[in-house]
Symmetry: C2
Subunit: 478 residues, 2 copies
């Protein structure tokens, strides 16, 4: 572990424990450098890390302070999943979420849907229409199994920003990131195999493990720095783990970005225990900081990482255009891609390639990152205002998903059922665990441009949660 | 087996053996009725069957004759695959086919590509463009896991013609028929299971079995009436078969339509041995006769058949819109669909639903059926003219694929390599077998409107085949 993370965690804990209070001046860079025997730049890095997570704010020429406006909810605790491989359950709850369709009278805070109403997406719609009108009908043919070359070239360029040096030949286009993950898992694992996952973890990837007869070993995960490498190392020593499946950049659902040093350390672990890493980077382009974070794949010189992503979160999920950079597993992934859908539809691929080629992607991303970051702050404010005391909240560093933890014993399944009658939908926490943990948690989407309606929806969630919580407590008191 | 099929097979054999010669009058309906102790209508049915397969032609008021123009190649023999479950090979050859892209200077006779240049498809292209321009952006959202309701309703109506009474709730939209097959196989079977397949059989479905760790048991298949029910019954008695995977209507690659009575008998067999049937109906709408043939599914009152299809052959493969009617396996198929691609792209679904709703599909199908039937006759003529003596050819009753059998020892892999240098591509026979049989066979596509270029391409295939064959014989003589 690197020094600055250690120091940041130490200071963070002290702030959270009330050792330093809102408005208090934090120790000077120089003092900390002496106290902990680290360089000035290490302390500065630690403070920047705390700043990114809303725990410290700089004042010109006066040093760092605990933010006054720190009415922010506390961070969620680190999960305590089962310390053994488990069969995955929760399909019923996931099905309830994925069978839902957009309805006029329901505000959907549950799904991982980006804002697609932004004007910066218009050139893509124009391309889609134009391709349908081209006389050579490029949208109607079978694509080859790798996917459209022009798009793979654009993606290879895009991946440079995440530190990856890949060419079009290293990439396979898929029907969304979902197919990328599913092909990757099938390329690496067999039924009965154990896969280590961050916890909480993306339900889609876990249901894939379930569907393919694999077991999940949930590893405790820190809401700021990601999967616990210590717990992972112990697990790797103890179990015949075949692969590690994680979302290290703009994690779903926790929103953290795993620090670079930890990504590097994860890579070293994978090498030492000779396991594959399936890296879900679907939100990676939506980090609020620029340049975007590096991928674990960028530290991989052995082809051990299968990097999976898509344009579902950055452009639109209805396109179903994703990709995988499968490293040494290319041949297997191609076979799995072929048997899964034969080939990917060419029309949306051509439209996305146009969009990237004509330089529309970067300005679009800049706009979305800013929108999502502003929305995060609004949403955190609403949670402080409307949610019951003791609600804890993640500090997303990218994407548009907020993770909330209510007191133990709270039932988000029941909350969701009551809310649906009021025209609001959330994602229940239990689908983010292989074994139905996190039932007292929930995930909310803050992608859309804020409106009074959305604030009202969030208020409903908070008020209803308070009511249910009061009932739980009362019930417990009887 | 029904009487008329028996009688037709008997007469067919006599004609093929030269017992009746071109121009000969065949026995009268009355005489055959007396001779075989069957009704007049049974004999008439038998003659109609022979007529459909080019072995008899009626003359008004004079009865049936052996066609004068019977310069048609003989039918392929019945395959003799291994009588035990085998691991599936041939991925290398399939990959060679599916990694190919349309190229200006290569005539692709190898892929299962329909003719998409017909004007009757234009309303679909207009819809695709219009949907991209709609302000409510229906093409960009996540679809629900079942697929677009309007499309499922249209497909349910369409399925009435094949004898199926299903509702939208019985259907799941998939990313092409490929995903329908793959979800069906995974819903029914587990790794290590044995699946009985017709032989030759669609390479995509077999590669799916391979990718999922299953074994294929290839059942001998008649080029006119389909899978041998006798051989299948023996296999079911001998092996713990989990499912039967077949293409009974407009078979790929043989082009036959399994007679209704045999479909019914197949259903009875499946019930007796309690196995599932995965029915690939992707070419079923392209039967040259109207109304289209019934599906095996239409005889299923227990939800035992998983009916898989798509618009890839009737409209365009680039749409990637397929479906499955999974019967009692609905819940499992939904899970498999979810983990495979999450959901299907909504834009092409909406466009296809429009196309059907506005009545464009039936006229389009009528036109394509006629075109493909005409092309079949042309193609058979070219084969007679340009291919080496002893070449046998299927008699497709629908779709646009011709199966050719050259003398044993002929190497279609080598043929394909030599042809690629001349700008022609074919599908090698060995990919249609789990164990690389049929290397002396090949499949050619006759969907496109006939041109001199295509005739020239077919001529090249024939001439090159003759040359290679001569070398083989010469080599064998040394």
């Amino acid at each position: 572990m690197t020094l600055y993370i250690n120091l940041a965690e130490l200071l963070g804990t002290r702030i959270k424990q009330g050792f330093y209070r809102p408005g208090d001046r934090l120790p000077s860079v120089r003092a900390l450098s002496v106290e902990h025997g680290v360089s000035l730049s290490t302390v500065q890095q630690a403070y920047r890390f705390l700043e990114d997570h809303g725990l410290a704010s700089p004042r010109p020429k006066s040093g760092y302070f605990v933010p006054m406006e720190r009415e922010l909810p506390a961070l969620p605790g680190m999960g305590k999943p089962a310390q053994r491989p488990v069969e995955i359950s929760q399909w019923e709850q996931v099905l309830e979420l994925v069978r839902s369709v957009p309805q006029k009278d329901v505000i959907q805070l549950g799904r991982g849907m980006p804002d697609i109403t932004t004007p910066t997406i218009k050139p893509l719609l124009r391309s889609l229409a134009q391709i349908s009108r081209r006389l050579d009908l490029p949208g109607l043919y079978y694509d080859n199994v790798y996917g459209v070359l022009a798009l793979r070239e654009q993606i290879a360029r895009l991946l440079l920003d995440s530190g990856c040096q890949l060419s079009a030949e290293d990439l396979v286009i898929t029907t969304g990131c979902h197919e990328a993950l599913s092909c990757s898992i099938r390329a690496v694992c067999e039924p009965g195999d154990i896969v280590a996952v961050d916890s909480p973890s993306f339900h889609g990837a876990m249901q894939t493990l379930k569907g393919l007869g694999m077991k999940a070993l949930e590893i405790p995960t820190d809401p700021l720095t990601g999967i616990s490498l210590e717990a992972l190392e112990l697990a790797l020593e103890q179990w015949p783990i075949k692969a590690i499946q994680i979302t290290p950049s703009c994690n779903n659902p926790l929103g953290y970005i795993m620090p670079e040093s930890r990504k590097r350390a994860l890579m070293t672990l994978a090498q030492r225990f000779d396991v594959a890493i399936i890296e879900d980077d679907v939100y990676g382009e939506l980090a609020y900081t620029y340049p975007r974070p590096r991928t674990v794949k960028s530290f991989d010189d052995e082809g051990r990482v299968l990097l999976c992503s898509s344009f579902s979160k950055t452009l639109a999920p209805g396109l179903r255009v994703g990709w995988v950079a499968p490293g040494r597993y290319l041949e297997r992934v191609l076979h799995m891609k072929y048997i899964s859908t034969g080939s990917t539809a060419p029309q949306p691929q051509l439209a996305v390639a146009d969009f990237l080629e004509n330089g529309h992607f970067e300005p679009h991303l800049r706009k979305m990152r800013m929108q999502y970051q502003r929305n995060r702050d609004l949403m955190l404010g609403w949670v402080s205002r409307y949610f019951p005391e003791g609600t804890r909240a993640s500090r997303p560093q990218g994407s548009f998903l907020l993770w909330l933890e209510l007191p133990e014993g709270f039932d988000s399944l029941r909350l969701n059922r009551v809310l649906l009658e009021q025209g609001v939908q959330i994602a229940v926490g239990s689908i983010f665990s292989a074994s139905g943990k996190y039932r007292h948690c929930l995930r909310m989407n803050y992608a859309a441009k804020p409106t009074l309606q959305i604030e009202e929806a969030v208020r409903k969630v908070g008020v209803t949660a308070s009511k249910l919580l009061a009932e739980t407590v009362e019930h417990g008191a009887h």
